[in-house]
């Protein structure tokens, strides 16, 4: 069994090494992607393009505009009049418009309430929500200056509220989105590399007719499947380790937990991903179909359903159930627990078990399917 497995593995390895482009893609491209995307992607919204329609032109209105600019979140790109609003918003030249009514200064000096308008471009709901939060905070702070400065209302308006709140953020105090995206990217890139490398490996032999030769050889399906997995496992493990080390060196991803547990989690995840690729490969009859299946089974779910980008708790109930079948979900939880939280095994052993179960199931299914096709 062992010898047969190694024979298949050796043959596969020779084939991989001969195709230098594929090998280079598998080894080099993942790191390159981590670099590019780790650097490029973030959700920290800064430099929101703001236009101001100031109909007041008083000290108070200028101070409000200054508060927006000094916050560091907004870049003032234009001072406009009402007529230009539509054009600027339509062409995405600005994301927010602050409309200050005439009479703002007078109202504030005489301690009367006054409303200012904020127009937001809502096409990207996520960005819009964040920008709205920034704007509300700035206006509230600016408003508080007048409430406390005028002195008059303080008798009626208690300056310290009865309940105060002290927020604290654990694990990632500055809320750097890199620290949250990089583990996700690691899971994503690893998954893609692993599935892509094996998804075509069996169907290719079917399409070319070499499968018949393998069938004639004294190799059973189990050693065939394991033998196909081993070389890709070695390559993917090397590439995954390089990504993880790069993430630590270049993006300051911390390592608060144990290395051996991390490698265990990575290995389990990889075997599952490779197994999924093999299963697809054994199910498909042509490489085009295998490719489409790979996209559907790995690319999209890892991207959408793993909690990498979209929070699972916000999804509809039935989709939340589906996420339990996505290995990246468990890997991501374990990865974040190990590197960011420094949690011990008792906090995430369930995730590791789930990964192991997934790997066993897909590999067994792949072997069973092959056996049925061979007999």
């Amino acid at each position: 069994m062992m010898k047969k497995t190694m024979a298949v593995a050796r043959k596969e390895l020779r084939q991989i090494v001969r195709d230098t482009r594929t090998l280079t893609i598998l080894l080099v491209v993942p790191v390159f992607f981590l670099l590019l995307y780790g650097y490029a992607l973030n959700w920290d919204i800064r430099h929101v393009r703001l236009a101001v329609d100031d109909r007041d032109h008083t000290m108070q209105s200028r101070s409000l505009v200054a508060a927006f600019v000094n916050s560091g979140y907004f870049d003032l790109v234009a001072s406009i009049t009402d007529a230009e609003t539509d054009r600027l918003m339509d062409r995405n030249d600005v994301r927010a418009i602050l409309v200050i009514p005439s009479g703002l200064g007078r109202a504030l000096r005489t301690a009367r309430p006054v409303a200012v308008q904020v127009l937001l471009n809502g096409d990207n709901a996520n960005t819009a929500t964040t920008v709205m939060g920034y704007a509300l905070t700035i206006i509230r702070n600016e408003s508080a200056r007048y409430t406390s400065a005028t002195g008059a209302p303080s008798a009626l308006w208690r300056s310290t509220p009865l309940v105060t709140v002290e927020p604290r953020i654990w694990y990632n105090p500055q809320l750097r989105s890199t620290l949250f995206l990089v583990p996700g990217l690691i899971a994503y890139i690893t998954m893609i590399t692993a599935v892509v490398s094996t998804a075509l490996s069996i169907v290719r032999e079917k399409e070319r007719g070499t499968m018949e030769q393998v069938r004639m050889a004294p190799v059973d399906t189990a050693s065939f499947v394991v033998g196909k997995t081993v070389p890709y496992f070695v390559i993917s493990l090397v590439s995954a380790s390089v990504i993880i080390v790069a993430a630590m060196l270049l993006f300051g991803m911390p390592m608060r937990g144990s290395w051996s547990l991390l490698m265990l989690a990575v290995s389990l995840f990889l075997v599952g991903a490779l197994g999924l690729g093999l299963l697809i490969s054994s199910a498909a009859e042509t490489q085009q179909v295998a490719f489409q299946l790979a996209m559907l089974a790995s690319f999209l779910p890892t991207f959408i359903l793993s909690g990498f980008i979209f929070p699972i708790s916000s999804m509809p109930r039935f989709l939340q159930v589906v996420t339990y079948a996505i290995p990246a979900r468990y890997f991501l939880t374990a990865l974040r627990a190990i590197v960011l939280k420094g949690a011990r095994l008792d906090a995430f052993w369930i995730e590791l078990v789930a990964l192991a179960v997934f790997a066993t199931v897909v590999l067994t299914l792949a072997a069973v399917r092959l056996r049925r096709q061979w007999s």
Binding site: I25, P113, N121, S143, P153, R158, P161, I169, L179, A284
Partner: protein
Amino acid sequence: MRRIGFLIWKELIELRQDPDLLGIVIVAPILQLFLLGYAATTDIRDVPVVVADADRSVESRDLVARFDASPSFTIVGVVTSPQDVDPYLERGRAWMALAIPAGYGESIGRGETETLQVIADGSDANSTNVALGYAMNLLAAYAQEKTAAHVPAVRARPPGIEPRVRVWFNSRLESRDFMIPGVLALLLLVITTNLSSMGIVREKELGTLEQLNVTPLGRSELILGKLLPYALVGLVDVCLVLGIAVLWFQVPLRGSVALLFAMTIVYLLTTLGLGLFVSTISSTQQQAMMTTIFFFLMPMIYLSGFIFPIENMPAAIQPLTYLMPLRYYLAMLRAIFLKGVGLETLWPDALALAGWGVVVLTLAVARSTKRIA
């Protein structure tokens, strides 16, 4: 022209004889659309919260009930001591902890100021940021109410500046309306670029390309005949996706459908050109697949503004996004869907996209001599 027709016919017959592939090009878009339509929401709901209630008074229970009643939060556990929240946060079972100190209810009753603690798990920075904002708003309203109860003379409307926010184009702030036009763009890329490149390389691998080469077909006829069927499949998928988006997900389609299709055809020039280009530089389907996934698909997904806004990227990276044809098509799709604007606003994007189409297609055709095509 008739010869191209025959070739297209041959391709379509092949497609029909591969029921798996045909099924997938029809089912895959629908599945993707539903996945993204339902899952791709960056709205934060039902944030799991654990409460460390050291007080257990009427007052503290009232506060917990407010969190539970809010659609943004779900209470997943109530413990007594603040130390007990650790395992919840560590395992990711709760994203946020609310600590209510002992004696809270009494202090509030006496009108003394009390401090609540909110602990958030920052490992998912984006969601945490939003969830924390919700929590602070909820608590601010709560604090104001409690304060008002003790200072009866508080004015209904305090002096100062009152913000009035209006959101344009997507007033419900629905992420779905933003994501679904993106699915359309992504889908076309996957279907047309990948399938066409693999389809051509497949004939290379199987040796049947040789047979096509000895037919009297000209080079351009051969290329057109190989690419057009995929364009057709792509357009069918566009209709499918549009139908579901508008009828099922009720994404507003405010602009002109004709313009949308016109731009789609311009976009197809690029995606098919890329497919042809990949096929000229690949000798196996595996190479073709990896080249498209890694060098075209992934960069386009991440750097086109599909999910991550371009304006958030560092200034050094932003110029790279101009290299992504998807960027222009996506911007136009979203503008047509949500803003209902026409060419008078979109012409720079349309021009850039058309430019890309011509460049890519010319390059690909130039590279493919009849022998390789």
